[in-house]
Symmetry: C2
Subunit: 140 residues, 2 copies
DNA sequence: CCGTATCCTCTGAGATACTG
DNA sequence: CAGTATCTCAGAGGATACGG
C-alpha cells in the first residue's frame, strides 16, 4: 500500500491527520472545492496571462461572467490570500486586482490546464460525437 | 500586445478563430467548464493516484460523492474520451473505470493541483482568518 | 467606475426507491 | 454490484436597479 493510498484509507478526516482533498470533511477539501470552479480558475488564469487588471477589464477578459459572480469569486480569492485588491481613491474610482505569491503559484498550475483544454478540444469533441452516435444506435 | 492578448481581444468567438477558453461561446469553454468541476477533477485525480477502480471503490475514494453525481461525472468523462468504462459480465456485475491517454494527460496536470491545495491549506486558512478579522472591525 | 441589494429562475445535488 | 428514475429543496447565478 502506497503512502497515497494509506492517506486515503478513510475519507472522513478526524483532525490530526494530514490534509486530504479526498476527505469529505478535511478543510483542504473545502478550499479545493472553492478553487475547482470555472470562474475562479478563469480569473486566476486571466491575471496570470495579462497581469494586473481592473474590475471591468477582468469582466471583459473572462467572457460571460456576470458582475455578481466576478465580485463573489474575487472576494473569495482575496479572502484566501490569492489575490490582492488595490483601490485608488480617484474619481471615478479605480480598483486593480493582482496575483499575490500564493495566487501566482496556483495560477501557474492552472494555466497549463486552460492551454491543454484548447489544444485537445478537437479530440474531445470528436470523442463526444462518436460516443453520442454509438449510444443513439442502442436507443432506436 | 502579445499573442495571448490578441487572441482574447474579443470574447465572443465567431468560429474560424483558435479555441479560446476565455471566450464565452467557444466550444473549448464548454469543455473547460465541464472539467473545472470538483467531482470530475477528484475522479480523475483518484484514477491517476490509485489506478483502475470499480464504481464503489471510486465512491469510497472520492469522499462525499453521491452515486448520482459519480455516475453523471463518469458519463461526461467517458463521453469526452477521458475515461474508459469496462463491464465484466459476471454476477454480480463488475465495472471498472480507467484513464484513457487523454484523461491521463489531464490527470497529470490535475494531481499537482490537489497536492498544492493540501500543501498550502494552512496558509490559505490563516489568510482567511486575517481577512475575516479585518472585516469584522468595519462592521461593528 | 465599482460595486451592493433585491428579486427571480432554474438546475445542482441529496434522498429514496426500484431494476438487471 | 452498478446503476436508473423520481422527488424535492437549497442555493447558484442572471437581470435589474440603486449607491458611493
Amino acid at each position: 500500500m502506497t503512502t497515497e493510498e494509506t492517506a486515503r484509507a478513510g475519507t472522513e478526516w478526524h483532525g490530526e491527520e494530514a490534509y486530504d482533498v479526498f476527505a469529505r470533511l478535511c478543510p483542504s477539501r473545502e478550499l479545493f472545492a472553492e478553487l475547482a470552479d470555472k470562474w475562479s480558475m478563469l480569473i486566476l488564469m486571466s491575471l496570470d496571462a495579462c497581469g494586473p487588471q481592473r474590475f471591468s477589464e477582468l469582466q471583459r477578459g473572462v467572457g460571460g461572467v456576470s458582475r455578481k459572480m466576478l465580485t463573489q469569486s474575487l472576494r473569495n480569492l482575496e479572502r484566501s490570500g490569492l489575490v490582492l485588491r488595490t483601490v485608488f481613491p480617484e474619481t471615478p474610482p479605480r480598483v486593480v486586482y493582482d496575483l499575490r505569491p500564493l495566487g501566482r503559484e496556483l495560477a501557474e498550475l492552472l494555466s497549463p490546464l486552460g492551454h491543454w483544454t484548447e489544444r485537445r478540444a478537437q479530440r474531445m469533441l470528436a470523442a463526444r460525437e462518436e460516443f453520442d452516435a454509438a449510444h443513439a444506435e442502442g436507443d432506436l
